[in-house]
Subunit: 288 residues, 4 copies
């Protein structure tokens, strides 16, 4: 039985020793540890995977362990977070009409690449219900209209659905709507969006059209946390591919789909595996 | 003996046949031909390399051939341009204090990768004269001051130097100055700049610092024609490399140097080989 | 209405002019043309897409056009082949137990990326029938046993199925069987296999295990025509990705799936679009 | 003042805690730590950079620290190695007639990318002496002949030169000779070679010619330790680039030069920075 412990605190002497000593003292074995000291901000980040099968205070008694970590955290000014591997995360996928990222996530989930449950798919359009049906995932249609108040109502319905289904992570798999600022501020830390450009180039709408117009030789895709400022949240991963003058906007859209799939899946996988930490609107990603 | 013929005109039936028939009629052999029809603008672009060793109108008599091409061009509304392989292009390299692109171009030239002469290196600083000396290339120091009129005087001196040395192509190999609008308008078509970001992200100054601040996971470099609008000229080539949270600004600068070298060298090589055509502030690049 | 014409012949003067003149004479418009002269073998390759909507000899009367091409071909020693865009190719997918390439091809087909019909999926195992059902494609189970004669019988059944369904292209989408030499010799020109290594490294079985053992820092995938010599047929496309010491064989298998999907889809797309020519056990690929 | 400590031992509980506790106890601050547990061999690898400016046993008194590490190492069955940052490594470059890797290493060294001294360049040919002169590095010509005993004599001269100049690392920068088995066995751990293919494809001579003949779509370069078995030593890094049917052997050689430069420089940089550990003919590389 393993757990992932994420830490961040001001860089200081003895942190690594203190944490590893604490875990060792409890009879836990560090399976894997990554750390990073950011010179520019003097911050320290660490991800530790440890095995607590032989925890000395009795099997599964992690509450006391957590209390000890909390005390250590106070001493060092740490933010910390722990995830137990046997507590599977629950993931909601939001889509509009495009299906490629949805298919991709469902297939990877089925193949065992993504360690999570997918209890629901949500869309503002009914078009992709057949895919949800094929994979046996409940589909919720939360439509949006131009009416004043429609967005607020839809977001409220969405949040109550997420609460009811105990959703841990929300994936915007080409969900073509912009959330309200208040919604983003409540949810961005567990909400991953895929944007179809190598941000910060071509923020906002129709990035492939603008890339075509500018005549770039490389297009990209970016997975990021969906903060209130559009396409400006912490970047988790990016990928690019070469294009030439021969590529029309349609070709870019086609080639871009492969990038979007890859990048989104990688970001989701890392997030599910507690590999992504945020600080100063940037991410520390301990890749696998 | 070969020549490169570049054509662009509105797309229309029979162009390819007409041109190939004309060359065949003169006894020229098409060695290589690339064409591209842009659906979005209905424009046609072609690059033909042909061997005129057996030209029927007598060896080297290309004037008559050019007259025939000009007539055809009028008929089809073509812009065209011809380069003879035995007329080696002359290249000027402009630098400031950073040496990596300068070294790279000189070494590639020496190894035979770049088909050109390099009759001069020009700088606003004296620092890199020793490299010019090592490679036996005359070095011209054209300093700039804060005085009013200094930029105009320097640009005038520069242009007279380029004229005197019959320079065909000017390479801004990390030349850290911005030319006047008038200078750019006269010279951009034969002036290639290397910018240290994947444009249009991070136009202008200190792109690596801004990339670090934004937390991107990929950095890039862009070679483009230096038009009057800063970093907005037609893009010839781009390249990128992955970075992580571990990369400081200094690491980006180091990794970026390799990108800048590669991309600039490729753009220069293609331009010298008549592989780059410009239309609508974009390029058609017939890569080798 | 367009057609793709593929040509190969010994390189010689006037070929391009002759072909483009012939098409122009028939009232056909060349939409796109790519050619390549191989210096090392003195061979010439060309792919022409032409519009024959206004063919002078009456709409759809391509028989006379083909006769003219055949005559030209005799004169220049050409091999040639023509495909009409309205004659959609028919594709059979062969699989064993792994589903990622199958899913990928079916989803790309549904999204319109692959211009073909998929009238059947064939497997030596029944495992993936549910996917065929989901996408509404008939599934044929052709089992194999250790009995002497089983392979010959299965191959005979397979070939009669391909004939009955008028299959133009056969895709081995992780089909884990080796065909007999006779079968390969009859079928290789329309049979594309995906191998999970960057050939010629790790030909044969268990390439990821061997890559792990050798400690390579890059893994790859290769799409190639399935000739009789195992994994030695003409390579259509390859792709690679970086790995590190952290990647176990299972990680390689997971990362490799993305490569296999991408490379196989690209090869299939190019082949369907008549962009791949074979000569001397190598391919000329006119990429889109 | 910092040092790099490299460890490898059978994976076991408490190692990380023990080492970090030991360093902490001596008043050393861990600046950076990377570790890796190889599941397939149950081996543990760690690289620790620590600051010993405030070492409690008196400034610079690292002998006692080393004795403590040695004791710990015995307890855990560790192999270990320590490098102090103020002890600059000394590097010898071996070349034959090709200059691109030599130029590249010298320019990177001058720009501060490679933390080392380069006290000598050695060659079996006199051709590149002018480059050594330009950069002010002593050049030694150690010729080879077909005479029996010539190789042994040359290797003996080489080793005495390396000893006299206190060389820590030897770089084969396109040195086109094969060392004797005995020489390799004595020197491979500090000898890095660049091979111009993505090993294990195209081991041995003329890899670009063989890549051209096979019709691969990707070429590569590999930096590895030069063990006695030709091109089979532990791989440190690899890089690749796409090619097409248009690329002749000469084009491959040109494009390959860029790969060779990049990969060799990266491997040398990592080795100088104590980032490369060897186990089972494979490397663990803690990349920067």
């Amino acid at each position: 039985m393993t757990a992932n412990l994420l830490l961040q605190c001001p860089d200081q002497k003895g942190v690594i020793a203190a944490v590893s000593q604490l875990l060792y003292g409890f009879g836990c074995n560090i399976v894997c540890s990554d750390q990073f000291s950011d010179q520019s901000t003097s911050m320290f980040f660490q991800r530790i995977t440890f095995d607590f099968s032989d925890i000395v205070i009795g099997p599964g008694n992690t509450a006391i362990l957590e209390r000890a970590i909390a005390e250590l955290a106070t001493r060092y000014g740490m933010k910390w977070q722990i995830s137990y591997k046997d507590k599977i995360k629950r993931l909601a996928i939001l889509v509009s009409k495009q299906d490629h990222c949805l298919y991709d996530l469902l297939i990877r989930h089925r193949s065992g690449e993504l360690r999570c449950e997918i209890p629901l798919i949500i869309s503002n359009h009914p078009d992709l219900k057949h895919i949800a049906d094929t994979f046996g995932v409940p589909f919720h249609h939360l439509p949006l209209s131009k009416d004043p108040g429609s967005k607020e109502q839809q977001e409220a319905a969405l949040e109550s659905l997420l609460a009811r289904e105990r959703v841990d992570v929300m994936i915007l798999a080409r969900y073509m709507q912009i959330f309200s600022t208040a919604f983003c501020e409540r949810n961005w830390q567990h909400t991953i969006n895929i944007h179809h450009s190598f941000l910060p180039a071509f923020e906002g709408a129709r990035p492939y059209h603008r890339a075509h117009e500018r005549g770039v030789k490389i297009i990209g895709a970016t997975a990021h946390f969906a903060t209130a400022e559009l396409d400006a949240g912490p970047i988790i991963d990016q990928a690019v591919t070469r294009i030439t003058h021969r590529d029309s906007v349609e070709d870019m859209i086609r080639k871009g789909r492969d990038l979007e799939r890859l990048v989104l899946a990688r970001a989701v996988r890392w997030h599910l595996d507690d590999r992504v930490m945020v600080y100063n609107n940037k991410t520390v990603v301990f890749e696998d």
